[in-house]
């Protein structure tokens, strides 16, 4: 088994400009936000983000010019802080393309990629303008003659997933909700894990049933305690309400946003949330 441990900088350097990039977690929960900060530091450009429901990660990558497109079902800060300000602005001004999905259609596209097929049929979607707006096609079922919407395969070039526990070969435990992380790990060409703690893989042998991610599907492992901050990480820490409120407030204009990014991300020590 191969040791895949590396630094955050080295792992993120492997994300090419223009990559289709899947981000694990959901809204403010167990997202790979330390890795997102490193993407900002490395000034990635042209990324197409893939997520079912994004928040700070998608918003920040839009606001800092890293993202060119967003394939997601939802981008916002829930009832906490409302709309995602940078995402909204960049889309409205035409600098970011909103490839709106239905969450389930993100899942369907990932499933097609996982299964090596060009498309995935999906239930629902009837009556929605999304298929027409997004160019989702309908196929006739050869068995019943019925029409069914099909979603094209969505194969991320890179997936970044943050977990609570991993070994150096990429076997990983996720505590709490797994979101779409296991789909992303399977669908992507290249998989980066960031982990709260590194553990000896021997400890997984006692209960492999509890290991969510198989190391052979993983390409790089980064030890990143606090790696979901300023989001939360189940069992370890909540999202950082103060920071997020400041982030939202800083979005009031470009100068304050840039100042916030410079001070709190670019010039900051990679922040490790206390827990």
């Amino acid at each position: 088994m191969i040791d895949k441990q590396t630094t955050m900088a080295a792992a993120i350097a492997a994300v090419p400009d223009g990559a289709i990039l899947a981000l694990g977690g959901n809204t403010l929960h167990r997202g790979p936000f330390a890795a997102v900060h490193e993407l900002v530091r490395q000034r990635k450009r042209g990324l197409e983000l893939v997520k079912t429901a994004g928040a700070y990660d998608v918003d920040l990558l839009c606001g800092t010019g890293c993202a060119a497109a967003v394939s997601a079902g939802f981008v916002g800060f829930e009832t906490l802080y409302g709309l995602a300000p940078s995402y909204r602005r960049e889309v409205e001004q035409g600098r970011v393309l909103a490839k709106e999905h239905a969450c389930y259609s993100v899942i369907a596209g990932l499933r097609a990629a996982i299964q090596g097929v060009p498309f995935m049929p999906i239930a629902g979607m009837l009556g929605s303008d999304l298929p027409a707006a997004r160019g989702f096609q309908t196929v006739r079922d050869p068995y019943t003659g019925d029409g069914v919407v099909v979603i094209p395969a969505l194969m991320p070039d890179v997936a970044i997933v943050h977990v609570q526990e991993a070994d150096r070969t990429g076997n990983a435990r996720i505590y709490g909700t797994r979101f779409e992380d296991l789909l992303m790990v399977r669908a992507a060409r290249h998989v980066i894990l960031t982990t709260e703690r590194l553990v000896d893989g021997v400890t997984f042998e006692a209960m492999p049933e509890s290991v969510a991610i198989s190391g052979f599907m993983v390409d790089a492992v980064v030890e990143a305690p606090g790696g979901a901050w300023p989001g939360g990480c189940a069992g370890l820490y909540d999202f950082d309400a103060e920071y997020l409120a400041a982030y939202i407030a800083a979005n009031k204009d470009v100068d304050s946003f840039n100042q916030f990014v410079t001070e709190r991300i670019l010039d900051a020590e990679p922040m490790l949330a206390a827990r």
Binding site: H29, A53, T79, L83, C103, S128, T177, F179
Partner: protein, 249 residues
Amino acid sequence: MTTTGEPAPAHDAPVMMAVAMSRLLHDGETVFHGVASPLPMVATLLAKQLQAPGLVYLNITGSVDPRPERLPVSTVDPALLRGTRSLVTLTDLFDLASRGRLDVAFLSGAQIDQQGRINLSVIGDFARPKVRLPGGAGSAALMPSARRVILWRTKHDRRSFVDRLDFVTAAGNVDRVVTPLCVFVRRDGRLEVESIHPGVAPDHLQAQTGFAIAVDASTAVTPVPTAEELVMLALIDPDRVIDSEFAIG
């Protein structure tokens, strides 16, 4: 903030909505809510304590019948895992709906039309919007596949209840729509006022609604929350997390 056990004033919209939504749930049903859904979270927990103990409570965290110790403002929060005995994924929940086994989905819309269709995508043009909204999350998939969809919207005005949607994010099996002013029921594909909340004037309701509705002094009035409902609601949501839905746009 209300206190335990007192009848809610007619204008305590969060409480009125939570109770009205809760009453729509039946024992034994499987019920799901997604992100940004404090009212459905509270309504479902309330129904489970009252008329629907055998209801299966599902949410975006993948917990099943959790018993949260504190209620989170984010409805994706791991606080919603407490007490669950298994975990499913969001994928499982969409699949469940797709094969016709999800009884109720709670969904919302920035705009809602008389057919009960919703827009959560854009104000203006889809490709170059005036306002980019968060997106419909699971609604385009769930609205046609869940057996019953309950919509809720904490604003009841002509910008929310519109004659024409800027974009149809989702359409489907809408059963009821709960607002701060009334409960709509969908009959023959169109929303009708089923009951008007206590203290709301029929004229006001009509004026706030962007499509034609039949409402007058004879319209049924939503029963006020019972003492039992209020006591239980205060136990479930002592910090009034439901108010967070009224704090923002």
